[in-house]
């Protein structure tokens, strides 16, 4: 009884094994595709972030440009 329970648990938990569910480094071709990025244009996203910070009267923190003066 104990052995069969142990074996059942092992089979069930093997489904959660990181090795079985993890995408290996050499399998990341599709993740690396540019169309998988959240924003297609990185430079445009930085600019949008900057404008958002100015509009919301935030003072920088984005790191992409300087403070929230809107001068750059």
């Amino acid at each position: 009884m104990k052995t069969s329970l142990l074996l059942t648990l092992i089979v069930l938990f093997s489904g959660c094994s990181e090795k079985l569910t993890r995408v290996m480094p050499y399998e990341k071709e599709h993740f690396a595709d540019p169309k998988m990025s959240l924003t297609p244009l990185a430079a445009r996203a930085e600019q949008d972030g900057h404008i958002f910070l100015i509009r919301e009267a935030s003072a920088g923190g984005d790191g992409a440009y300087q403070g929230g003066c809107g001068c750059r």
């Binding site: 290996m24 050499y26 990341k28 071709e29």
Partner: protein
């Protein structure tokens, strides 16, 4: 207790990649154009730097021109064997063409295609790119995870020269 130890051992075995001192796993792969087939046996008696790369990997883009120069600096006894894990060989071919254009050097090493990722699995590649320095007897002497810059390639040359003696 014994059962627990057995399962821990099996679990750890799942994560095992090759390491220094191991025999380099055997493989049979075709070149990118599919015209020729190579195995590890083809490189017996040579010092081999086995590099696993992909056209989508940023580190590979950085180190590939260095590899062109590295193979160019050896005429005998050393073979750089690169294995692409791209799904399609055409992507790898285009990538190499762009490096050829950049360096002005025709691809000086053998490039094999591992579309099924069998070699990557056998070597337990932990990150892309990964390189393995293999001695004349087929023993892995160094496992290099990540891309190599010019200085690191120069240091690697010293290891290669030691193994060539």
């Amino acid at each position: 207790m014994k059962t627990l130890l057995l399962f821990i051992t099996l679990g750890l075995h799942l994560y095992a990649g090759v390491s220094q001192g191991d025999k380099a796993p055997e493989f049979t792969l075709q070149t990118l154009d599919g015209k020729k087939s190579y195995t590890m046996q083809n490189f017996q008696g040579e010092v081999v730097l086995l590099n696993l790369w992909a056209s989508w990997c940023k580190g590979c883009k950085k180190e590939m021109p260095e590899f062109f120069a590295l193979q160019k600096s050896y005429t005998k006894g050393f073979s750089l064997v690169t294995i692409s894990v791209d799904d399609k060989a055409a992507k790898s071919q285009n990538f190499l063409k762009s490096v050829e254009k950049k360096t002005g050097i025709k691809t000086p090493f053998i490039t094999l295609h591992d579309a099924k990722k069998e070699v990557a699995k056998a070597y337990g590649v932990a990150a892309m790119p990964s390189s393995y320095l293999i001695d004349k007897k087929g023993i892995i002497r160094a496992v290099i995870v990540g891309s190599l810059n010019h200085e690191e390639i120069e240091a690697l040359k010293k290891d290669i020269n030691t193994l060539l003696k």
